[in-house]
Symmetry: C2
Subunit: 337 residues, 2 copies
DNA sequence: CTGAAAGCGCTTACAG
DNA sequence: CTGAAAGCGCTTACAG
């Protein structure tokens, strides 16, 4: 490809001038502008976005760190969140870089992301990635809160404690005494919040939360969420005596339902199931239709993007936004008499 | 942020050496490596991806040009296609840059996309964007074919002519004599192919295709697909005498159904409706459930990405892939006796 | 309004 | 195994 030097040489001007013709950052005379444009046209010259970004220290794109599930298919949550982010990018004239690359162990393999800022999903406890972005000075917004808590970090989140408390209360009020909670992995901040919320619900009903009924996803044990749900029920039903199960996601619930079918457990008659995240497609197609929680992923994404643009324009800004989640009652829970 | 120079200076080595420690492109002694890494750690140094990309002329990311519909919400087709692309990127260690930015009129506003190659959706007749990418030497893959046809351009596509012929045949065999076709915009190659296919169906049934029953989407007339469907029926029903309508997308079909409801036209009793693209979510939720065509958007995306990676590794390669589309019969069409 | 030159932060022959 | 220097293709004070 022709470069700015080629154009400058051929048009008999300096490259600063060619640069100005394209960037319009300083006025160039009509005649020179025309000549430069002509030559550029002839040579098929287009400015190199990368070189420009390096020079001005601005890429006009933001990154979204989004780990792909092992089966490679994004969840509806992911999809909706991306849609929220992309809408805001579009408004601001930014590109969106979807980064699904796995985290590297080798520290020499890191580099600064080629973007002006990053949205990070599913923060963990003492998340190394967060520390790294802070060191690099990369504007950062989390979807989910940080642990240890740092109020200088911007994030959007559902009120996960609340959600779990509400769901717990819903079940306990319904006469359930013992609830199996298939939580997300223990290192995620959301897991902690949810457990906490469930504990509050128990305590509101004057009950202690049975700790052994709160289990965590372990990717070493389970290939995916559905298997996690399936195996958990297969291994525990009969030994433990829960009448309801709360799952991390609807995919986990899918596994629970499958296990129930195999064990001839009727849902919701013998077992109530409720998922803490609502994948519009799956939830409605399950049998029975899954009672779940709507997290408003698109809103989370849009708000995260807005926070990030704020932060890009002024690094000192930090703000937290809580998006309310809604319990959506369908058919998979039963009130015991 | 610390740069490679800072590290080099502080470690008392040349920047070439620091570079080599991180890139591992030439061997560096154990001791020097350790010292460099230590200093880097201390300074919080991370290589600048942009600068690296500029030097090696490789970004390790590909672009997807995806215009956002005016309402900002991606269609299921878009979503599925992205998912297909992203899966392949993930496998290859690439990032995916989603570019929704509008096309610029001003030629000075173009620049080379900061990616190693581009997937372009919805090519048009004499598409300027295609010509530009070819000039720049940017590896390019289309989703949809180019017009004028150029067999050196890689693309993936459904067999749109076939799809339209099949759908047309389905309706004509069902006893319909006149079909209203709400096609996509006239400048898209897919519109041409579909019209052609429908004409073939008519001719197979010994009928001429009534040209005035093939209309095109015009974004100056309609804010979105749904309105296009709605207005088209409102304005034509009664004046024209079709018994079936083929729509570009299920969103257009949604508008058709709405109009039918307002005009007290029963679907499918009085009007059959069939969409040429199947948005899994919408189609099933419509009333009646929409008969439509499954285009396998995810496969299109995955194959497009594969072709692009091929082309990035060897620019001379060009290949075309046709993904079969499937007619999915649901409830919105009726066979006339 | 325009040019010369240094700078953005890397990589890579070439030499030793 | 390591260094010095040119190069990747832009932008931007500084000077005129």
């Amino acid at each position: 490809m022709a470069t700015i030097d080629d154009v400058a040489r051929m048009a008999g001007v300096s490259k600063g001038t060619v640069s100005s013709v394209f960037s319009k950052k300083r006025p160039i005379s009509q005649q020179v502008t025309e000549r430069v444009l002509e030559v550029a046209q002839e040579l098929g010259y287009f400015p190199n976005h990368l070189a420009r970004s390096l020079a001005i220290k601005r890429t006009m794109s933001i990154g979204l760190k989004i780990p792909l599930p092992p089966d490679g298919t994004m969840t509806a949550f992911d999809t909706q969140l991306i849609n929220g982010v992309i809408k805001e990018c579009s408004k601001q004239g930014y590109r969106l870089v979807l980064d699904t690359l796995p985290e590297q162990e080798d520290p020499t393999l890191y580099s600064q992301d080629p973007v002006d800022g990053v949205i990070l999903l599913n923060p963990r406890k003492n998340d190394l990635r967060i520390q790294r972005y802070l060191m690099m000075g990369t504007p950062l917004v989390l979807v989910g809160r940080s642990d240890p808590y740092d109020d200088t970090i911007s994030y959007v989140d559902n009120n996960n404690t609340n959600v779990a408390r509400q769901v717990g209360d819903y079940l306990l009020r319904g006469g359930h005494k013992t609830v199996l909670f298939l939580n997300a992995s223990s290192d995620m901040t959301v897991s902690y919040d949810r457990k906490h919320g469930l504990a509050e619900a128990y305590s509101q009903h004057g009950l202690p939360m049975p700790e052994e009924y709160v289990v965590y996803y372990d990717h070493k044990l389970h290939a995916n969420g559905t298997e996690y749900g399936y195996m958990s029920i297969m291994n525990s039903y009969g030994n433990m005596n829960y009448t309801a199960v709360i799952t991390d996601t609807d995919r986990v619930a899918l596994g629970v339902l499958r296990a129930a079918r195999e064990l001839d457990i009727e849902v919701p008659e013998q077992l109530s199931v409720i998922a803490l995240s609502n994948d519009a497609i799956l939830a409605q197609d399950m049998n029975p239709k899954l009672t779940s929680v709507e997290l408003s992923a698109e809103t989370l994404g849009a708000e995260a993007a807005k926070l990030l643009f704020e932060k890009i324009s002024d690094k000192r800004i930090h703000r937290q936004i809580i998006i309310p989640a809604q319990l959506v009652v369908r058919e998979s829970c039963k009130f015991l008499s």
